[in-house]
Symmetry: C2
Subunit: 521 residues, 2 copies
Amino acid sequence: MNSQRYGRLFYLSSLNINYSQKQQQQQRFIRMNNCCRHTITLDNINDNVKRLEYAVRGPLVIRAGVIENELKQQQQSSSSSSSSSNNQRLFNEVIRANIGDCHAMGQRPLTFLRQVLACSSDDSLLTSQHYPNDVKERTRLMLKYCGGQSVGAYSDSAGVEIIRKHCAEYVSHRDGIESEWRDIVLTTGASEGIRSILALINTCSTDSLPSGVMIPIPQYPLYSATITEYGMYPINYYLDEDNQWSLNIDELKRSLNEAKVKCKPKAIVVINPGNPTGSVLTKKNIEDIIRFAKENKILIIADEVYQHNIYDGEFFSFKKILHELNEDIELASVMSASKGFMGECGLRGGYCELVNFDPSVKAMFFKMLSARLCSSILGQIALDCIVKPPDVDGESYERYHQEKSDVLAALKYRAKLVADTFNTIPGIKSNKVAGAMYAFPQIDIPKKAKEKATELGQAADFFYAMNLLETTGICVVPGSGFGQIPGTYHFRTTILPQNEKLEAMMKKFKQFHLNFMEQYS
Amino acid sequence: MNSQRYGRLFYLSSLNINYSQKQQQQQRFIRMNNCCRHTITLDNINDNVKRLEYAVRGPLVIRAGVIENELKQQQQSSSSSSSSSNNQRLFNEVIRANIGDCHAMGQRPLTFLRQVLACSSDDSLLTSQHYPNDVKERTRLMLKYCGGQSVGAYSDSAGVEIIRKHCAEYVSHRDGIESEWRDIVLTTGASEGIRSILALINTCSTDSLPSGVMIPIPQYPLYSATITEYGMYPINYYLDEDNQWSLNIDELKRSLNEAKVKCKPKAIVVINPGNPTGSVLTKKNIEDIIRFAKENKILIIADEVYQHNIYDGEFFSFKKILHELNEDIELASVMSASKGFMGECGLRGGYCELVNFDPSVKAMFFKMLSARLCSSILGQIALDCIVKPPDVDGESYERYHQEKSDVLAALKYRAKLVADTFNTIPGIKSNKVAGAMYAFPQIDIPKKAKEKATELGQAADFFYAMNLLETTGICVVPGSGFGQIPGTYHFRTTILPQNEKLEAMMKKFKQFHLNFMEQYS
């Protein structure tokens, strides 16, 4: 793959950028005099690591960082002297629409959550007048369940007991069916839960065929990256772009049947609400998926981290529908503190619920987690504040719900703004953004632009996105990073820039696209 | 292995403990009526996961939790009514000497560090009178480098830039040689760094022989667990108990030679100061290890998380000695916020420094990390407060250093107390606890006790440790969890209980041991 080679070159060069002259010389010297001095080389490291790709943080994003630094230097030099550089850019900031990083894009954290974190970090605040009583009460409850009443103690590998219980209560309340807290483990974001489940079911070390995992195309690249890293086999099924990115059961059957000679199918990943698609699955679609999984005896991994991000339609958890259908097949559902109305990506809190698992398998899963010690206690506490908001009679109740609904209302506005604006641009077509934080529009790329991309050894949508970045400072991720039907081109943008900035961004985007089409028509 | 089978049974039973009656019946019902309903069973999950063991959190620790709950219930029922249960225990608390969990054992966190965390969590504290100025300054610096000035934003996968720079300054200052911040990645504790390095060099997916990693025996079970999980081959080398648990080069050669037909040797793990041994390696020993690694073209993985915990002797980093020897072989050194004088296990902060790595390999390592997003920002900030203490002219300077030296002085006192006391007990022999937080004494186990253990399907030292737990509430980890020369028996205890508690614990221990010897003599 061209983009892969391109990617590697970029990584290499990015490593050296800004290295001091002296060090560069030193390195050249060492290389010249001792070219074979390394024990660990590209030829003898893990081949799976070499092959894995993670576009959301790939070469485009690295280039965005370089441009950001250039802009900073320009701004510094233009403010300190008049000797400005010649290649001034036509924009003064990079807009990072490449990653679902809410706070980085200006979203404010929930006050209650942060106050509980502060109080939990420094318990002297418990005796100050600074915080409402319900913050202090929550903190005391959290610390009571921590070793030595400190967030600096390890928890059980599965997490702090009371927080697991609150997660179970949250799930019970959401679905209207009982949830068992011992089936819930607290993880470092949702990512660790997903990676651990994949590790659990991976039998590559003993089977002659690799373990297969069905993943949507387009997909969130954590899946493809982890599957590659673990030597598993990705069974790609295409989402139905013409039907709001739903799952088409015939397509599931096709992909599974074709893969059966190449792997041992183990699981199907479903991301709902969709990343990068912004879709929300209907109840009927979920029912069909469950029946399909049952028929084919595969585990359902439900990535439900965007369950609060619904702007159109309704969220149905896989667990609830499983229960309604009276099915008892295995399901692993993951949730995170990083998305929703809280957006606490940096705190790394998440949970994974194991539904209908054989107790002995569950025991193995817990044992595996124990070698990772535990996830961040403060991340766990952040999650607690989400699954168990302040009580209705607490001082923080009103503010919490006001902040929550403000964030969700703003996201809903932007979801519509983004999709609607794209659909006014000739050559761009976007589905409704019904959920999550992304749009994944399809773009027509003119023949000449494709040829230029080929000439540069780049995928056409990578070429498009790189042009967008260099011209406007807008950083999106090309569709090739998520997968798409060959011959079609997309990109993913978040809807996270604050309203005013997003409105300006959409204008710039439109202008860029029109110019691009003209330039290559 | 007997302890393995025993372990699994324990895990299984622990999962059911305290499950409600109703649920148990339900489960039995499901099992009876649909015994083969599970898609994922012990027969089709990852064999490596089934095989892995993690004794520090194994069956003994689970049993300790059960006893703790019993004690709580006893205390509740004895305070609420007089109908106490018949099988009252002779102790009223479990002493968790099984895990290096400082705060859980009563160590107080560093004030400066916790104030910076609180302020970083809730930036409204920046305008309050509650905190010293240097706390606020540090917080402002941290937030300046966070996306959107929030600890809720993702950082680069390698960590927040300024914190990586502070880590590099710390290493430079420690070793007196320049350190490059781009060679340092911030990780979820030291564990993630270690696991990632092992993943990087693991070529099991392409080689006919598994990748071999030399690990000390006794070792910290994270290594054996991860090596098993990854399908790698553990090359066990015995530490020299008669020489303060140093590394014997002849033994390294023996183990490597014997393993060469079974694996492709890739790396040697050295834990210094030692876990579970409490040893501190001499400069001469480190020099010999470096030469051995060079000769055999293997990577050195230096687990140096206890570098502040030195009670006797001096800490030499592998990096410093590498530099002194003018060698340029590869080294990965890990450090953590969980140990030392801070003991912030629950915050999950750590770093890994890659020394002398080929830039292209480093690029692959960074790419692999990118799929894990980033480690906890608050964990990273905690690490910052350790590698960069308050400035000498700051308000927090004096308190920080007082707290640090108090903790280290207490640990030094306890290190001596523990080793000295064990050496007064007939049948127990302990090396000096020169560093880290553990003693790993050897015990004579009487023949009758060994027979009893065999009868129960247990390892003899597991039997000893379980007896200790049931009789006294003291929870230690049997030597079989770390490895030991066959026919010898050990256990690991931490030196973390606060002074008074530790003194009492040592008395109880002595009494238990004498009774045990009498009972089985």
